[in-house]
């Protein structure tokens, strides 16, 4: 097991390095001059060149990458003298548009996205998996039909429709969302009620689509598992239907659901762009979309892209470890 862990961990480091390299490479060949983007419309070439030097964009790409990696571990200092900008480790770069170290921007946005992702995750897993099991157990009866209807609605209504509808006609109309709190991060430690009011609708909206597909997936997985030979064996032993479901069917069905859930959760951590935009939540999704559409803020885009990739790669590792724990066949191999 330890051997397996070590192997998987080193593979993860390699993948992360490759991902960051390719993202960095793509940004280097973009037909945009990051230095030119640092100052506004009326710009002198001299200013651009000065900024280019300050941001370290005047050296070859591989040197830039080296500095980037080094910055992750020891922090980075841009420019010299009075105009020095310090970004402590882990430094992802400096956003000229926002006049902030990118790490600071991420630090501010991360709790928002975490709150959103964790809450939505809990909601969609409990609703999706619960409904899926119910539908499988009551196959072709009304609970199953109701679940099928839910799946249809949930998967076919896009988030930007459901989100806006619930925001306008429920959240704001009944004053459940405080418009003054929109766009601000409220810590659950400070004001749990306001935090909850800010997030409850985003959770529901985000969870809706996921819950629908998890209902479908859980239903089919449970039905498939129920026809396995070892379930018939369990029944022939004299186990009750309840015990068969809880101990035998779900035990086998949980593995594929875990895989899916781990990866979905990880990709959410990169930011839920649409949901965050609709509810004006200052999370990673908003940070990315603003950097892409509004600011052409390359250091921020670079950082959020690598971060999102890192989440997925790490989640993959965790899912694999969980799988080894869940499935003895993987453990030994």
């Amino acid at each position: 097991m330890l051997n397996y862990l070590a192997r998987r961990l080193s593979a993860t480091v390699v993948v992360l390095t490759l991902v960051s390299m390719s993202v960095f490479g793509i940004f280097a060949v973009l037909p945009m001059d990051p230095a030119a983007l640092t100052c506004g419309k009326a710009c002198y070439p001299a200013v651009i060149e000065a900024n280019r030097h300050r941001l370290g964009l005047d050296v070859p790409v591989h040197v830039q990458y080296g500095r980037f990696v080094k910055g992750l571990f020891v922090g980075r200092t841009y420019g010299e003298g009075q105009a020095t900008i310090e970004c402590p480790a882990p430094a992802f770069g400096y956003s000229f548009n926002r006049h902030e170290c990118v790490t600071t921007l991420i630090k501010d946005a991360l709790p928002v996205t975490l709150s959103l992702a964790i809450g939505a995750f809990i909601l969609w897993i409990s609703v999706g998996v619960g409904l899926g099991i119910l539908a499988a157990r009551r196959k072709n009866q009304w609970p199953d039909r109701a679940a099928t209807a839910f799946v249809l609605v949930g998967t076919s209504l896009p988030t930007f429709i459901t989100g806006i509808l619930i925001l306008l006609f429920v959240g704001l109309k009944f004053k459940l969302i405080d418009p003054l709190n929109m766009g601000r991060w409220i810590s659950p430690l400070e004001d749990p009620v306001a935090w909850f009011r800010t997030f409850i609708f985003p959770w529901i909206i985000l969870a809706l689509a996921y819950a629908a597909s998890y209902t479908r997936f859980t239903r089919s997985t449970v039905i498939e598992t129920s026809s396995e030979d070892y379930i018939r064996t369990a029944r022939s032993k004299g186990l009750s239907e309840k015990a068969i479901l809880q101990k035998h069917t779900l035990r086998a069905a949980i593995a594929p659901i875990t895989t899916l859930a781990g990866l979905d959760f990880a990709s959410l951590l990169g930011g839920a762009i649409i949901t965050e935009s609709i509810f004006n939540l200052p999370g990673l999704g908003r940070l990315s979309i603003r950097a892409v559409l509004q600011d052409y803020d390359l250091p921020t885009i670079l950082a959020t892209t690598i971060l999102a990739a890192a989440f997925v790669v790490i989640a993959n590792l965790l899912v694999d470890i969980a799988y080894a724990y869940l499935d003895p066949r993987v453990r030994v191999a």
Binding site: E228, D229, Y230, R232, T233, A234, R235, S236, K237, G238, L239, S240, K247, H248, R251, A252, A255, L326, D327, P328, R329, V332
Partner: protein, 349 residues
């Protein structure tokens, strides 16, 4: 069955019918099945795939979904506490007979054990359903059973997972699990079909040993007539959901009455015949169980149908008639023609 002073047979199946409604119509998987098995007795059920062998035994175990299967008739277990009809009894009562009064082992030991639980876990689970006692007691019993079915180093292997066992070893584990609560009836549904030939006879021997050890009634479902000759006291030959011939193993092997049974015997090599003969396959396929032909189900494949006077095979379903003591056959063919038929088929090179 005559009920004298002797105890009744442990299992009595009477006029059992199992049908499944489908979109295409009602599938009559087994119809009008009657037989009985006593403790210590071995009943072999033979027939090709889809003849209703497994469907019948699953009905005896109460393993069909009562919502989707239409089951009628009786399957009575004569327990010490009195007879229970598995077909009509409350589902909860039948559940508590499973694993305790009757057990079943299945064809494919590769998939019949839960891949995520250790062997010990699965055995202890079966044991603790019907026994009071700590997990340690269950574990002891599990090791004892694994030892009994011939798994070496049972003490160590009890903690291993199914994928760490070979096919034959898994079937031994299945047998240990089926017998852990000392059942009176064991149904073995093609227990050796999925195994290597060398392992098959070991498993078969094990099942026979266990039957003696536990004094069980044994129903052995198989399409291997060689297996039948080795172990069976009585044989039911099934075709298209019906028993077409039933008798002692001797009767079936040396005096087969039904053209299907005769054909089956001719399709396998026999050691007791000196000349080497060509094996003869039965032409054609079994009929659909939804749109059954009128008359005898085997008629289309039967080469003697035209020797039956009055086109009886096409119009009338033959009844299961007694041919001699304990030997029944479902065929219109008159005795005189039968003798000829036996010689004809048997003499074919």
């Amino acid at each position: 069955m005559t009920s004298t002073n002797m105890s009744k047979p442990f299992l009595e199946v009477k006029n059992l019918n199992v049908a499944f409604p489908t979109e295409d119509g009602l599938v009559r998987a087994s119809s009008d099945i009657s037989f009985s098995v006593a403790r210590g007795e071995t009943l072999a059920v033979v027939g090709e795939s889809g003849s209703g062998k497994s469907v019948t035994s699953l009905a005896v175990m109460g393993l069909h979904n009562r919502k989707t299967a239409q089951i009628s008739g009786q399957a009575i277990l004569n327990l010490e506490s009195g007879p229970v009809d598995v077909i009509s009894a409350d589902e909860e009562i039948v559940r508590k007979l499973r694993g305790k009064a009757m057990s079943m082992i299945f064809q494919d030991p590769m998939s019949a054990l839960h891949p995520y639980y250790s062997i010990g876990n699965q055995l202890i689970e079966a044991w603790s359903l019907y026994n009071e006692g700590s997990k340690e007691d269950g574990r002891k019993r599990a090791i004892e059973m694994l030892d009994l079915v011939g798994i070496p180093a049972a003490e160590k292997r009890v903690d291993e997972y199914p994928h760490q066992f070979s096919g034959g070893m898994r079937q031994r584990v299945m047998i240990a699990m089926a017998l852990i609560n000392n059942p009176s009836l064991l149904i073995a549904d093609e227990p050796t079909t999925a195994l290597d030939v060398t392992v098959q006879s070991q498993i078969l021997q094990l099942i026979r040993d266990m039957q003696k050890e536990f004094n069980m009634a044994l129903i052995l479902i198989t399409h291997d007539l060689g297996v039948v000759a080795e172990v069976a006291d009585r044989v039911n030959v099934m075709y298209a959901g019906k028993i077409v011939e039933s008798g002692s193993a001797e009767d079936i092997y040396y005096r087969p009455d039904h053209p299907y049974a005769i054909g089956l015997l001719n399709s396998i090599p026999r050691v007791d015949q000196l000349e080497s003969k060509r094996l003869v396959a039965i032409p054609g396929q079994p009929p659909s169980l939804i749109h059954r032909p009128d008359g005898c189900s085997f008629r289309a494949r039967c080469e003697f149908a035209d020797r039956v006077p009055g086109n009886l095979c096409a119009t009338t379903i033959p009844t299961l008639d007694q041919k001699s003591t304990d030997h029944f056959s479902r065929c219109h063919l008159p005795e005189s023609e039968l003798v000829k038929a036996r010689v004809e088929i048997g003499g074919r090179k």
